[in-house]
Symmetry: C2
Amino acid sequence: MKVSRETAARHRAAIVEAAARLFRERGFDGVSVAEIMRAAGLTHGGFYGHFDSKDALAAEACGHAFANSVRRLAEGPAGDLSAYLDSYLSDDHRDRRQGGCPMAAYAGEVTRQDAAVQDEFAEGVGRYVEALAKRLPVSGGDAREQAITLAAALVGGLALARATAAGDPVLSQEILTALRHQLARLAGDADDGSKIHHKDTKTQRVR
Amino acid sequence: MKVSRETAARHRAAIVEAAARLFRERGFDGVSVAEIMRAAGLTHGGFYGHFDSKDALAAEACGHAFANSVRRLAEGPAGDLSAYLDSYLSDDHRDRRQGGCPMAAYAGEVTRQDAAVQDEFAEGVGRYVEALAKRLPVSGGDAREQAITLAAALVGGLALARATAAGDPVLSQEILTALRHQLARLAGDADDGSKIHHKDTKTQRVR
DNA sequence: TGTACATCAGTGAACGCGCGTTCACTGATGTAC
DNA sequence: TGTACATCAGTGAACGCGCGTTCACTGATGTAC
C-alpha cells in the first residue's frame, strides 16, 4: 500500500541507517538487501523504489557512516586527543562494530566494491585526516603527516585487535593496550612527563 | 584418472599456493573453489579429495601466507628496518596484493570466517610481532609495544593506501609517503640526523 | 620381472541454496474538480 | 469543503545466477602373486 511522502522519506532514511550499521558489522557482502529492509521494518520488494541497486545504497551508507565519524572527531577539543584515542582504542569500539569507525570496517573490502563506494570512501578518509590534523597539538605541514600516521595506527590497530579477538584474546587486548601507551604521546594530553613537549613540532615523540 | 601419489602431493601444494595468492588478491569470499582449482591446473570436482571444505583450505592458505611473510621479515638485519619499511610501504606492495602482507589482506574479513581461519590468523600475527620486535633497534619490554604499534601503522597505512587508490590516487600516494617519512625514525637506519638516538629506548621518536 | 586387478586422484554433471533484482498487484495518498 | 480517481510506496512471489558441495564414473597407479 502507498504511504505518505513524509513516511516514505523516513523509510528511506531508516534503510540508510540500517545499512550503515549492518555493513559495518558484517561487511557489504555479508548482508543481504532483504536483511537490511527487514531491519528497517520493511519488505525487500520495496527496496528498488528507493535505490537503483545495492551498490548505490552501499555508497550512500558509506558516506553516512563517515559523516558521523568525522563529526564526532571534529567535535572534540583541539590540542588534546587523549580522550578520543582512548575511546577509539577501547574494548567497546573493538566489540561493537555497528556504530564504529568506517575506515576500520570498510578498508579491507572497499576495493572489491562499486566505484561509487570507493569514491565515497576516499573522500571520507580525506575529511577524516583533515579533521584529525586540526586536533593535533602540532601545526604546519607536519600535522598532516602526523595525522595520516596516527590514523593508520588507529585503523590498523583496531582491525588487528578485532581480527585476533577470537583466536587469541590476550594478544587482542595487548594490541589495544600497546597502542594506547605508545600513541598517548601524540595526543597532547597535559598530564604526561615534563620535557616531552618541544616547541619544535618535528621532535614530537611517540614514546 | 588417477595420478601418482607424488603428483597428487604436488597438486595439493599447488592448490594451497593458488589459494594463498587469490585470497589475498580478492578476499576469501571473492574467489570460488572452481577458480582456485583452475588456477592450480585442475577441475573443481577433485577439490574435496584434498580438503574437507573451502574453510579448511582458507585456514591452510592463511598459515601459508603468514609463513612466507614472517620468514621474509625475520631474514633481514636486526637493528635496521629501513629497507623493510620502504618495501612494505612501496607502490608495488600496494598494487600487487597476491604476494603481499596477509595481515593487510585478511584483517578486515577474518572475523567473518571459520574459527580455524581466525586461529591461524591470530597465531600469524603473534609470530609477526615477535619477529618485528627482534629487528627493532631497541630491546626490552618496550620493543614489543613498539613492534605492535609499528605493525598497526604498517597494516593500517597499506590498507588505507589500497582502499583510496581508485577514489583518490593522490591521497593514496600521500599516505604511503607520510608513513615512510614518519616511521623512518623507528627503523634504526644509520644515515638520519645526529641526536636522534638516545640510549634510553623510551625516548625513541616517531618524529 | 611380468601380469591381473583393486585402488583412488581427478572429471564433469548435477544438487540445493541464497542472493540481487523484477514484476503484477494492493490500497492509502493526494490531486483535480 | 467534499467527492472521484489517478498515482505510486510497499508487498510477496518469482526469476536467473553463481556458489559450495556431492556423486557416478574413468583410467592410470601400484600392489599381490
